[in-house]
């Protein structure tokens, strides 16, 4: 009886070991399939530079931002990212064009935001940035931010991009998130045309309830110059608003 129990226990233990090895092997196989050469230094390395500027105008406030972002590859799946952004912020009702403010409106706040962190290439076409940073100037906030972007249906005539960015400001305790969903409407040799919708919502700190805004957006990208323009308009807590973003991308193979 004891021998049979012993044999049975040994058989079960062997089976469990085989199953464990197989699971690990298949997990390792899956990992190697999705992330071949995970710990290999990427050669040639790439340095992506993005110069950007943009503006937001609404009935409640207006913002202009400008700066640049760099992404340095380390391995094919992990890299370093840094961003420097300058902000000019105006507030007021019945607001004027912040690029040409009228009498009584002036830039209330001017500050720069310095951020650095890690770039995770989770899947072909999917990136996650995790950044920490600090402001200088009229703001002294520490911030933490997560930016996510993924392309779906890449092997189709109309791929779709879903992106969101969440930022928490430790000075005013406001957490703000912007989201966007866009599809490529048309791709030609030189142009890419996008259409979709997006918006933002924010809560915390001096914002008592969840607030936000949203609307449709259009985008265009010119391949020979690697320049893109995106425009959005809509309505929300800040009443009607308009938003424009411009960006120029440059990739350097090291």
């Amino acid at each position: 009886m004891h021998k049979r129990l012993l044999y049975l226990t040994c058989a079960l233990a062997s089976l469990a070991c085989v199953a464990l090895v197989q699971t690990n092997a298949s997990a390792a196989g899956f990992f190697d399939d999705v992330y071949p050469g995970f710990f290999t230094i990427q050669r040639p390395g790439t340095l992506n530079l993005t110069g950007f500027s943009g503006g937001f105008i609404s009935d409640k406030y207006g913002t202009i931002q400008e700066g640049f972002q760099f992404e340095q590859s380390v391995t094919p799946y992990i890299g370093a990212v840094g961003r420097i952004t300058g902000y000019q912020l105006w507030e007021g009702e019945g607001f004027d064009n912040p690029l040409n403010p009228g009498t009584g409106h002036q830039a209330r706040l001017n500050f720069a935001r310095f951020q650095g962190g890690v770039d995770l290439n989770l899947y072909p076409g999917t990136h996650l940035f995790i950044l920490g940073g600090r402001d200088a100037g009229d703001s002294h906030a520490s911030t933490i931010e997560g930016d996510f972007s993924t392309w779906l249906f890449l092997h189709s005539l109309h791929p779709v991009n879903f992106s969101f960015s969440t930022n928490h400001n430790y000075q005013n305790s406001v957490t703000s998130t912007s989201m966007d969903l866009q599809a490529i409407v048309l791709s030609t040799r030189r142009w890419i045309f996008l259409a979709g919708g997006g918006g933002a919502f924010y809560v915390g700190g001096f914002i008592p309830d969840l607030q936000g805004q949203g609307g449709p957006d259009l985008g265009v990208y010119y391949r020979p110059w690697n320049i893109g323009v995106s425009a959005q308009a809509g309505y929300g807590a800040a009443h009607q608003y308009g938003q424009l973003s411009l960006y120029k991308q440059l990739t350097i193979f090291e």
Binding site: D33, V34, Y35, P36, T46, T50, G54, G55, F56, Y61, T63, Q69, P76, T85, Y87, L109, F111, R113, Y123, P124, F129, D135, S139, D147, S149, W151, L154, H155, S156, L157, P159, N161, S165, N169, N172, S176, T177, S178, D180, I184, S187, T188, R189, L194, A200, Y202, G219, Y221, R223, P224, N226, G228, S230, Q232, Q243, S245, Q249, L250, T251, F253
Partner: protein
């Protein structure tokens, strides 16, 4: 004693054998007579060699390229061949191609490695040219287009498992049908502005926008010289838009005068 019939049969068999030998000897000569000029090398830079039969000669600008020639470029090599029908073949660095056929409106190029950009000239009023680029695992057939074909061996790509040979076709103008060489009926039409990949023995992927699917191309999405690493272009900025309110703490409340009599 052998019969007369047996002798006749033996004589005929021997005659047929001699005839076959003669045809076999003449065949290469017939083939060489049919192989004519394919075009001219209009641009040559870096290390470029032409294998013609048993001879290997360096390519020079202006030299004639023949049907059957193997064109091999080194790490810094680059060559543009202007075909007799005004189509062009631009071969990138570290590449290897053979012009198998070029006659009667039919052109067939065999790309054994690296990248070639094909411009297929189409004369107004004339029949559409039959232009094909073959790689070890794919066929790209075009009708008056501009497209890149890249064949890479020995590299792995994410999500493709152990497959290490890929044919990438990027179309800039016109329409190209891309198929696995073992399944010509399973081809997909790739329009201008899109690219497709044939991985190993798989059927071609659905066409995706240029520079976004990881396919390699001559020049690459960022305009780098040679065959670019298969990166992914994202035409959407990863920088958050300016709509996120960036207000620091709100302004302090105004200080009020407590009034007379209040300490």
């Amino acid at each position: 004693m052998r019969s007369l019939y047996t002798e006749k049969v033996a004589y005929r068999a021997f005659s047929y054998f001699l005839l076959l030998l003669l045809l076999a000897a003449l065949n290469p000569a017939i083939a060489r007579a049919q192989a004519g000029p394919a075009g001219t090398a209009t641009q040559v830079s870096g290390t470029v060699q032409i294998q013609r039969g048993a001879a290997t000669i360096p390519a020079t600008q202006g030299m004639q390229i023949m049907v059957g020639d193997r064109v091999i470029t080194g790490d810094d090599g680059h060559i543009v061949v202007l075909l007799t029908d005004q189509s062009t073949l631009e071969l990138g660095d570290s590449s290897n191609m053979v012009i198998d056929q070029h006659a009667g409106g039919t052109t067939r190029v065999n790309l054994l490695g690296g990248a070639v950009r094909s411009f297929v000239n189409r004369t107004v009023g004339a029949a559409a040219p039959n232009f094909e680029v073959h790689t070890p695992n794919a066929v790209a057939a075009a009708r008056g287009t501009l497209f890149d074909t890249v064949y890479l061996l020995g590299l792995k790509r994410p999500t493709y498992g152990d497959i290490q040979n890929f044919t990438d076709v990027s179309v800039y103008d016109g329409l190209v049908n891309v198929a696995n060489i073992n399944n010509p009926a399973g081809g997909v039409n790739v329009p201008a502005g899109y690219e497709s990949t044939v991985a190993g023995t798989m059927n071609p992927s659905g066409p995706g926008p240029l520079g976004m699917t990881g396919a390699a191309a001559l020049g690459g999405p960022a305009g780098a010289k040679g065959v670019a690493a298969s990166g992914i272009l994202s035409p959407v900025s990863t920088v958050p838009p300016p709509s996120c309110p960036v207000c620091p703490e709100p302004p302090p409340p105004p200080v009020t005068n407590p009034g007379p009599g209040v300490p």
